[in-house]
Subunit: 331 residues, 2 copies
């Protein structure tokens, strides 16, 4: 039964309103990894935490914050949606190694080392040259391992990702991306990356963002499930999850912020183009209400067992978080 | 027995080194309220938390952070010194009401509304005009009450202090100051303030800073205990504690930072003067090793019962923190 499962969406950046929280609650989602930051620095990140504290205060009957895995169980038990925070970039730590622990304490559980571009830590998937993990990056990986902040390489380049998997003493995640074999895109991941990821105990969250999918906005549930099946054959079911990358009800300005931040004077179109600068058309079978349920049904129909399907729609995220959010800090 | 007591020093700003932590441990102090910030803004406050996280990591056999009252019990049980953080000014929240909760989550348990000067919240005790609590101040008091961040009015002016006691739905503290009747100084507190403080369940921490004491650096233990006795007669033993304001091993530059921050172009001498710009000479009977023990003995000799003495050297702080650190946040 879908209703009994722990359902976790490993990435969303929707317009966060009470109406949408209620939609999430009705959808049966137990917890969602919310992008707090794309390009915001440490100070701005504090204000974003502050804004979310207001949302928690105003909507505590529908949502609750997740600081540890037990909070996901509490969310399930109370019929609320757990919110766990991540950053799509390393901007929240400025250039300060000490801010890894500070941000982790504040509730930043997951952080990408790069967002498309070169960062202070590693190379993004849109750079021409992928120079791997930087000196600062090596220190930050060690510190993230220590304090239990999960490394996410969704938007990172190949060499940087492989090096990070090697350097990190804890498994990492690619919270929202698809295999290149299913759709060739800069944001998707090679078989080499997928194998290294899974062999180190890492997790791949399949993306539902049309730019990452075969046939784009025309991708059908059947196409999606075939991709999952083929990936399971390659790296096993234990490493598969969902990270929908769902961005509902956001204006064009948000897309421009994601793509341009403060770094680009000329308009950068990211995965779009000057001819198609806007949000891609949404998938008909994946929205805020029925998306995860449709995937659950689809996977069962594609021959995954109940147990395997439960793992993919949330169980694997739950186990991964349980293993990797704990601090190894000595005090 | 002094050794069995919960001993809490309600304010110190020493030079924090491993040697000094060991001194604190040997002194029998269970927990100390450490000043994290004098004038630092939100971003700088994060780095100060970061620096302390390093100290905790490097000295976890001697000190530990206090986030809740149970941590003080844990410190006592493990023979370590608990460190609880406060700010002497409201600078850590910038001009942003949301940062009250953010800073509280990070571990800022106590915050003064003003430090000598007018702040965005209220008037400091050195201002010519005391205009009381500001519009922003009223909102911050309500928010501090809600999230369990303790209000400290040690460096605030009379009207601002009385209004805050009235506005706050939870008792406040004056963590480090003395009664004006014992020594007339801008930083000390009138009988009116002491009475309003105690009637609302608040706490006064007696200061050992020579500028706040009768006879300055020549103040003897006997003089100090007489002041405590007289204050107990005025407002009762339940509202009395210690907040030594001890600033050991700090260079002149720190004193100048405390007094001038970024606000003064001309040198401001605070409680000192151009003729005596430096740190006042320390009290011979109050230092990092034996200070609290000497007070414990002195109070017993001045006729306080064992129970009352235990309250003054730590029990009252413990009870006050237990009552006022809990969040009234709904989630």
């Amino acid at each position: 039964m879908y209703q009994n499962q722990i359902v976790i969406d490993g990435l969303q950046y929707c317009h966060w309103t009470r109406d949408y929280f209620i939609t999430l609650q009705k959808s049966g989602i137990t917890a969602v990894h919310v992008t707090l930051v794309y390009h915001e620095d440490a100070r701005q990140t504090l204000s974003l935490f502050g804004q979310w504290n207001r949302l928690f205060e105003q909507n505590n009957d529908v949502i609750m914050p997740v600081f540890e895995v037990k909070d996901i169980e509490r969310a399930k038990a109370s019929g609320r949606v757990g919110i766990l925070f991540g950053a799509q970039n390393c901007s929240p730590i400025d250039n300060d190694i000490d801010l890894v622990e500070v941000m982790r304490k504040q509730g930043l559980l997951i952080m990408q080392l790069t967002y498309n571009n070169q960062s202070l830590l590693a190379s993004g998937c849109y750079e021409e040259v992928d120079s791997g993990v930087t000196r600062f990056g090596k220190q930050v990986i060690r510190e993230m391992n220590r304090v239990g902040m999960i490394i996410d390489m969704s938007h990172s380049a190949e060499r940087s990702t492989l090096e990070t998997i090697e350097l990190s003493t804890r498994p990492i995640c690619i919270s929202h991306a698809n295999p290149t074999f299913a759709h060739n895109a800069l944001r998707n991941k090679s078989n080499d990356v997928l194998k290294a990821l899974s062999e180190s105990g890492g997790l791949l969250g399949f993306s539902l963002y049309p730019f990452h999918l075969p046939y784009g906005s025309q991708c059908q549930l059947n196409d999606f499930c075939q991709m999952v099946t083929k990936t399971a054959d390659l790296i096993g079911v234990n490493h598969l999850a969902i990270g929908s990358d769902l961005c509902l009800n956001q204006p064009q300005s948000v897309l421009q912020w994601m793509r341009n931040g403060h770094w680009s004077k000329a308009m950068d179109y990211g995965e779009g183009s000057a001819a198609a600068p806007g949000w891609p058309a949404a998938l008909s079978w994946f929205d805020g209400t029925d998306g995860m349920k449709n995937i659950y049904q689809g996977l069962l129909e594609h021959g995954f067992t109940h147990q395997e399907t439960a793992q993919i729609i949330g169980g694997n995220w739950f186990d991964f978080l349980e293993l990797n959010l704990n601090s190894q800090s000595k005090w």
